[in-house]
Amino acid sequence: MSSSRPTPPSSSAITPVRSIDWRASITGGLLIFLALVVALFLDTSWDAVSTFRISRPRDVWAVGNLTVPSQWFNTIAAIALAFLGTRLFLRGGGRWTALAMGTGLVILAMAFLVWATADKAISLTGMLHATLVRAVPIALAALAGILCERVAVINIGIEGMLLAGAFAGAMFGSLMGGWAGIICAMLTGGMFGLLLAILVISYRVDQIIAGVVINLFVLGLTSYVSSQLFTEYRWLNNASPFRAFKIPVLSDIPLIGPVLFNQNLFVYGALMLVCLSTYYLFYTRMGLRARAVGEHPRAADTLGIDVIKTRYAHVIVAGMIAGFGGAWFTLGSVGRFDDNMTFGRGFIGLAAMIFGRWHPLGALAAALIFGFADSLQQKLSILNTPIPSEFLSMAPYIATIVVVAGLVGQARPPAAIGKPYVKE
């Protein structure tokens, strides 16, 4: 009758239950598949060279071009992918599964780029520049999502808020100039934020349904008004977009300078908002309270925090940020509005939010991945690769699926998400 329980269960007593790490196995298999793709399809002649331009002719400090022997690079890439995949397959990955998958995708993207530019030249700076630009609406949409979901409101309506912002930006920007356009875009976004807040917080409408309603409503409304109004009065849809401006000295740094410090208002604004909201959510009193409202609203209520007000404020501000992000489509690029011009960037933003684990910096990183996929598609269609361009334009969406299905792992949303708060 010796008894030192609790002790670990003796291994002989139970039938060994070793659960297979399916995620690692599938990821491993996928990586091996990618290695084969790189080895078999992305092959070039052994003396081909891919050239990446870094500096432009007029740069103050010029840096030489980066040249890579194409076939050598891709052979190494294939071996690296195969190694990662085999290791995951045999040993399991645990926490490292997502990291291995991410690394594998980066290697694949690099190999693809090297293959596509074999015996050609591409501007690396230009590509990174485009990545950042295209990450802006996604990052802003993700930020809006984070602000909502951190207080436990699901905002599927971000797509609609982006579209509303784009429309308002174009119209009021044409009428009253760019700055007024941005302000009106933000007000419009905020208005739809308020609408969502009223529906889901006060009237406790199902949050998914309310969001979908907003999306459909905005899509219908903007398409109708633009077809009725903009075809007749073209000057209403002809705003002058914000131009990029250089930040002195910093913009002269090779590579980093033109990428980070020669951008337009929207890029700087998005980066600032990301930093600001990180500080707000994790380092301030109000941020702590907001997160408490999203995790355990009743606890927050018993401590004298107004759950309803907090939620209203965040959803409205999120709407304004989405409105700002929407203005990027018009005032930040072409200056005119087209039907459904946001093309699901709001939903990709939600994917970036999940991938970034409800953290602004994480969401920015995720947005950059999507932005990269976006700019890759754009560059590759210029490079004249044998892949059909329709296929290439799927890139950002494929990236979304891969990222959300395979990479996220056990990200945990705020505990109270989707639940309306009812005082007893």
């Binding site: 269960p9 702590l288 309270r289 995790e295």
Partner: protein, 522 residues
């Protein structure tokens, strides 16, 4: 700080939750507030903590009337409430939880966590609470979480602490150290309101006691003036017998046998590990343990609600490891679920409909594809009489019944059939004393008819009262087994203290004769 409640009344719809309540709370004193579930204790305290506003009556602080528009006002006047269900954010650290709402800040709304940590540590040291500052709440045991709740209240410099059923989630040993903290707080001049329905706790900790029944104060004084019997009678409104009339068990064949049952959630989270136990015909077996140690999963494994990752379940010598829920049910396994609101009944269905949730598909209720509603109502009316379910009509929505009657309805539904094994999970949670007595007697009667009964409860008293044998679960394992056979005069039986230790996961080497701590030899 002295608080007086004068003539407080509060009505919810037709229910008078509080009627004309007068109460005085003094500094340096523990006031025990005793009452059954639904007697109005929580309503009263929610009024005091500002969550509800009273319909009539007033609250006086040091003789001056005050009005609480929300919890913030109450906190500001120095009243702090420790809720029965903890109000802690699981993914926040201890410090973050403690300061939430009254955060020390620097420039630009910046959270000054360093100052906060220092202040928390000071309070910690003063009352000997020994809580780590930077651990996440979800990583702390329940007993420590409760201390965080108390820290929270003290951090707001409360002079009055309201503790709502604080011992419900604690092991007997944790209760002891918790009482030490309560005494330290009292000696520091805090006023404490201790809400409970456990009589022995009042006897042990309270300086004064008030008894609440059906929204009214029905008695108050010092605990020494009363016996436990007096208090129980005041609480229930009639004399209560404490011991269940239970003769010695005459166990027969093995009805249920679990062998090496293992359940792993999501590939890594071990919920049940190598559980082996058996229940024989004609005996009641109790599963003791602090909530959340695998009891829920054990019940799901037996009833077939969740699949296993290893081991086997046998019922009357048949392997049922992979049988469906319906098949097990048809074989004669009855299940009284732990949460009747969630899985025991459909609140929006009528009593009659709820009564046939487990038999609607078969004779005599169903005729082919059609349900014979006359039969359903007749059957329900009969069962209501037989099982003392007090409802004006079987057509009434089940959600409008009291907790006790709802539970009796569930018990009636499960026991009316021809069963061989009853799995009763928390059979009397949130139920009035009268119904508890009744349900207990039904379970014992079921045993006496030669059936096997398995009771899972986090109330150790319930387990000790009813069970012939007791298993203790801790961390997803059965870590001890006790024989609870009692002599005619009620002496003997399992040692409460030993079970308490086992519930805390502490196994001892010098196991006493009546307790078999299951070791490698088991």
């Amino acid at each position: 700080m002295k608080i007086e409640l004068q003539g407080i009344s509060k009505r919810f719809g037709l229910v008078l939750a509080n009627q004309e309540i007068d109460l005085a709370i003094q500094p340096g004193e523990v006031l025990g507030l005793l009452g059954e579930n639904g007697a109005g204790k929580s309503t009263l305290m929610n009024i005091l903590s500002g969550l509800y506003q009273p319909d009539t009556g007033e609250i006086l602080i040091d003789g001056k009337p005050v009005q609480f528009a929300g919890p913030g006002d109450s906190i500001a006047s120095g009243i702090g409430m420790v809720h029965q269900h903890f109000m802690l954010v699981p993914v926040f650290s201890v410090v973050e939880n403690v300061i939430l709402g009254v955060e020390p800040t620097g420039k630009g709304d910046f959270l000054d966590l360093d100052t906060a940590r220092e202040q928390v540590q000071q309070i910690n040291a003063r009352y000997g609470m020994d809580v780590p500052s930077d651990t996440l709440i979800e990583d702390l045991p329940v007993g420590i979480q409760q201390r965080v709740e108390i820290l929270k209240v003290l951090f707001r410099s409360a002079d009055v602490l309201i503790l709502d059923e604080p011992t419900a989630v604690l092991t007997p040993q944790e209760v002891e150290s918790f009482f030490a903290i309560v005494r330290a707080l009292r000696d520091a001049g805090k006023a404490i309101v201790f809400i409970t329905h456990k009589l022995h706790e009042i006897m042990e900790i309270a300086d004064r006691v008030s008894v609440l029944r059906q929204g009214r104060i029905v008695g108050h004084g010092t605990p020494s003036e009363f016996s436990e019997g007096d208090l129980a009678e005041m609480m229930v409104g009639r004399p209560v017998s404490f011991s269940v009339g239970r003769t010695a068990a005459t166990p027969g064949q093995t009805v249920l046998e679990l062998d090496g049952v293992t359940m792993i959630e999501g590939g890594q989270d071990v919920r049940l590990s190598d559980i082996s136990l058996n229940v024989r015909a004609g005996e009641i077996v109790g599963i003791a343990g602090v909530q959340g140690n695998g009891q829920t999963e054990l019940v799901e494994a037996i009833t077939g609600l969740t699949g296993l990752n290893g081991g086997s379940v046998r019922f009357l010598n048949n392997e049922i490891t992979s049988s469906s829920v319906r098949a097990r049910h048809a074989m004669g396994i009855a299940h009284i679920p732990e949460d009747r609101q969630r899985s025991g009944m459909v609140a929006s269905f009528s009593v009659a409909e709820n009564m046939v949730l487990n038999s609607y598909y078969d004779d005599p209720v169903a005729r082919g594809v059609q349900i014979d509603w006359q039969q359903v109502h007749d059957q329900a009316a009969e069962a209501c009489l037989k099982y003392d379910v007090r409802t004006p009509s079987v057509f009434l929505g089940a959600g409008s019944l009291s907790g006790g009657n709802q539970q009796k309805m569930v018990v009636a539904r499960e026991l009316e059939r021809d069963v061989r094994l009853v799995v009763a999970s928390q059979p009397t949670r949130g139920v009035d004393v009268g119904s508890i007595e009744y349900i207990h007697s039904q379970l014992v009667a079921c045993r006496d008819r030669g059936n096997a009964v398995l009771i899972v409860s986090s109330e150790l008293d319930e387990i000790l009262d009813l069970s012939d044998r007791i298993y203790v679960m801790y961390g997803g394992r059965v870590i001890a087994e006790f024989d609870n056979h009692r002599a005619e005069d009620g002496s003997g039986g399992a040692d409460r203290n030993q079970i308490g230790l086992a519930m805390a996961g502490i196994g001892t080497d010098d196991s006493p004769s009546d307790a078999t701590l299951m070791g490698a030899s088991a």
